[in-house]
Amino acid sequence: MKLVEKVKQNFTMMSLLLIPVAIGINLVGGAIAMALKLPIYLDCIGTILTAVLAGPWVAVVAGALSSVVATITIDPISLPFGLVQIAIALMAGYLANKGLFETVLKTIISGVILAVTAAVVASPIVAYLFGGVTSAGSAFIVGYLLATGKELLNSVFTAQIITDSADKILSSLVVFAVVRSMPERFKIKFRG
């Protein structure tokens, strides 16, 4: 029963209300990236932040609901990528627990680990549900790799790693900056 107790403890009102903000950041963060013409999605910032502040379980809910909200408001294609959000939530929670968001260097390492996690989970979805295509940029890379004779899943994975690295490293750095600027009296309110 210990795990259930632990999970329940994390869901205080503060962490519950953090979720809409996290989802908002996931969706709006991507819009800001577009406004600045950055070629990356940045749709996991809220999820990672929630994992660091309130633990993996709250982050899982945040990530899952994030793709639900994205599906019903802007892009139904987001739905299957909920699995990626959940994986990121769990991994970020684990990394935060081990103190891997405490310095800039450790944060960058976390970003790399999260990029690999995302790529591993996303690649089968992109390859078998979307035939290897999610955006023009990555499709170009995938196409190039296919032309050199690589298999679909392999090519997709390589393309995902390339795009996800920049994405997740920047996302992790944003989370690091936010957590560092946040007064301690706020941070204690999120943990159960």
């Binding site: 809409p20 301690e184 009296r185 204690i188």
Partner: protein, 287 residues
């Protein structure tokens, strides 16, 4: 029996160095319009949180003493139970919007829906409160698109519709423009006329002297003075409060230095004007 009683209440927030509230003893009777005044950081909001139970149930820290609402100790009741007796309106109109209502009507109904009140009863009570507070014309509007004053009126309605015994308002107009302030104070007047027990934290002293019958003055977490407003504002101790009394009180004390008249109660605009008139007439007669 007092409706609210604070006994030796002390509280220090979890990561703070100083105590926010130091040995507060206060009684609030049913029907009182109690103002809480003091300099910034003197503990006014903390006092309100303690009456509502947010201290110690939501804000953790060192808590000692007792807070009794309707003869029941807050420490022994759940936050939700205390909420049935005590309504609370906050400073920031925006953060009080539920976020799930499509229009003002739904916003006001929100609290009653959460309480599981029957549909017909909800409709009846929402209509009544919206009529009373004169916000029926806002019923289809999106709460996010209202002005600050309108949002606060909606917040007051949303809390009042749940029929608490006490209404606490923590600086409800500090983020509003003069128009919004006036709207909110009209609403507060309507609540007062209904016989509601009201606790109001405010800086606008002239409005306090108009509405309140009692006032508590806080300084550095301690209760400096409390009691009927005439007694408090004219007390010599008030000079230590770090805040100014209503301007009419100051006018009165200045005038007393130059004219000889006995203990006029001058707390409101009307009383001050009346005093000046009577002094002017006296001067005319004496000439």
């Amino acid at each position: 029996m007092a409706l609210v009683e604070l006994k030796d209440l002390s509280f220090k927030y979890q990561l703070a160095d100083e105590f926010a509230l130091k040995r507060i003893n206060l009684k609030i009777e049913e029907g009182d319009f109690y103002a809480i005044v003091g300099a910034n950081g003197s503990g006014k909001s903390s006092l309100c949180y303690a009456i509502r139970g947010f201290i110690p149930h939501f804000h953790r820290g060192d808590f000692s003493g007792e807070v009794l609402v309707a003869d029941q100790s807050n420490s022994q009741r759940k936050l939700g139970e205390i909420g049935l007796d005590v309504g609370f309106v906050f400073q920031n109109p925006f953060s009080q919007i539920s976020g799930v209502a499509m229009n003002v009507y739904e916003e006001v109904s929100f609290g009653l829906e959460n309480l599981g009140v029957a549909k017909e009863m909800i409709a009846h009570r929402v209509e009544e409160i919206m009529t009373l507070l004169e916000i029926e014309h806002l019923r289809q509007r999106n709460p996010y698109n209202l002005s600050g004053g309108e949002q606060q009126k909606v917040a007051i309605a949303s809390v009042m519709v749940m029929e608490p015994r006490i209404l606490i308002l923590d600086e409800p107009t500090s983020q509003l423009d003069p128009v919004g302030t006036e709207q909110v104070f009209k609403a507060i007047e309507l609540m007062k006329n209904r016989g509601m027990t009201i606790i109001l934290v405010e800086h606008k002293m002239e409005l306090i002297s108009y509405f309140a019958n009692k006032v508590a003055v806080l300084k550095n977490g301690e209760l400096l003075l409390d009691g009927p407003i005439q007694d408090v504002f004219t007390s010599p101790v008030f000079a230590h409060s770090q805040i100014k009394p209503p301007v009419y009180v100051e006018v009165n004390s200045e005038l007393k230095k130059h004219f000889d008249y006995c203990c006029e109660e001058v707390l409101t605009h009307e009383q001050c004007t009346a005093l000046l008139h009577s002094l002017k007439q006296r001067s005319a007669i004496e000439k």
